[in-house]
Amino acid sequence: MAKELYDGIYSSHKLVFIERIEKNIDYYLKNRILEVKRLQQELFCVLNKSSLISVLKELKENPEFDIQVINSINLFKSNGRYCLLIGLSSVANNYSMLLKVLLNSGTDDGSRQEYKEILPEIVQIFKAAEFYMSRNNLTHSYNDAVFESQVFDGFDSFDIFLSTDYDIINRAYLDTAISRVLPQNFNKDSSLFDLQTSVSRYDYSAGIFPELCLCLAVEELLKIKVSRRVQYIRILLSELSRISSHIYFVARIAKVIGADMAFNFSLLEREHVLRILEEITGSRINPNFIKIGGIKKDFKPETAANIKGSLSGILKAVYKLETLLLDNSIITAKLKNTGVADKDVALACGTTGPNLRASGVRYDIRKNRNLMLYKDLSFLVAMGKYGDCLERVQIRFREIYQSIKIIDQITSDLPDEYIKKPVDISEVELEYSEMISSVECPHGVFKTFIEMKDNRVLNLIVLGPSRNSLYFAEKILPGNRVEDVELIIASLDICSGELMS
């Protein structure tokens, strides 16, 4: 009974359901799709460019699929052929899929031209694709105010172009030209070992999540089963990173508002969490701890007890921080009704994570897809209702409390198992294979698409949630005052590392 109740409240991702969608794709799109397969808990389809538009229309309009969200569009080269990778998801039906579209052109310039030609057609079906088009509005002459990349963390990787009517914003455009630092051939034909050590830089405010995402993908490819103890330790580290990232978010909000005491207090608390992470992994920011088939080293016997002992202190401090920040009527008045977004806007922009949940959509892949062993742990998905800045701050505090609850459960009941050595990557032999993997990072759903052969990674495409948050910012900024721009963008928790590719 309890289990049914549990499943009733939080719909778990059912593989049977994915199989049904797979069969439906076979039935409805038989002649238009070259290949369809299930990669972990996602669907992956290969198709030609000529059938792309009709497939997208079918996926959007057919109630069997009900796909309303486009998450990402990437141009990449796979096996000597240029392709588009389009990420789609259906929150109502609780599944997502990637379309690999084979382009006709064999040259760099030709593929870019094809990309430019096909985007307007995609925009007619999914409006959110306009973010990936080259926009003429991103010039100084068209706009009344331009905010170049700022010094403060979180505003440092994009320029903001605003068209205003006095101090009210009419239109906003965000340009990420400064943050596109990766070369085109990056992550192509690189060794898995190199990638494992550097991948955490893609989300440097919580570096454990890219590592986890990559390892989950490779483990699925190699069919490696990881012990319960390892999985619990991974969850524990993820939740500690989530707490650290959320406290850093609070610090940024406090800095923007001018609450210096809350800023200092949050940095102090973040240090406490970072020191626990450092004690376990040896590093504060980029842990390089999660390995394929295991972890770098096991806990010392006293570590779990030490973490458990420090939890009450963190809980009290976070509660104090929340009181300090949100019991202040001046601050709450500033945050309330600023940057309001309803759930339709949030969904249309492909936003995930706390920003989506603050608008009243219950979507957390820890629960929705039974990620790792989260199903064995008791916690609530923090939910908002109004979708304003205040809600986005409150939801982070609630998530911190839930993370503390998860860590408490893990440290109380950590299975005592022998941990095998991680897999020797140099000996891996694998045919050409593709895999998708996703984790719930502090900013949203962090997804990677990987193509591998033996121990070489032919392609790694990082689909971070911050790009969707940028488009979300463009949509919610109009109607607000120019003075609130920094606050609204800070409340979306944009991580610059995810914008690099």
Partner: protein
């Protein structure tokens, strides 16, 4: 170093990357870099030290030059993190071009990926103790 600058050193942190978190962590109460009279500023004209860190492309490099030109003398430069000290971890082919190196003379290098806040503070204190000629 003029005593006015020595007792009130303003830092301008350019670029984006993981090092920035550790640099700003130094302003927190645990490290409290402001007890040495060191502050972070967001206006190049007000700053004495340009801190270069993180990932750059050509656009980022040209902005860095603009910031440096806007700073008033005396001015110093500190390079923080492997991406600037050695080569960019995620883009090994990118190098600051020769024109950039001719204009900007880095006074202190802080290695690490990312360096700890203590390492960054050590470089700042070395700068206060014995500032290189500008």
């Amino acid at each position: 170093m003029k005593s006015l600058v020595k007792n009130n050193l303003n830092l301008f942190v350019a670029g984006f990357g993981c090092c920035k978190q550790e640099i700003f962590a130094a302003s927190g109460p645990v490290y409290d870099i402001s007890r040495f009279g060191i502050n972070f500023t967001s206006i190049p004209e007000e700053s004495d030290v340009l801190v270069i860190q993180g990932f750059y492309n050509k656009e980022g490099q040209s902005r860095l030059l603009k910031y440096y030109a806007r700073m008033r003398e005396p001015k110093w430069v500190i390079a923080v993190g492997k991406c600037v000290v050695d080569c960019n971890l995620l883009n090994k082919s990118f190098q600051f071009d020769d024109g950039f190196r001719e204009i900007i003379n880095v006074d202190f290098f802080v290695p690490g990926c990312p360096p700890r806040p203590e390492a960054f503070m050590y470089a700042i204190l070395r700068l206060l103790e014995s500032p290189p000629d500008y």
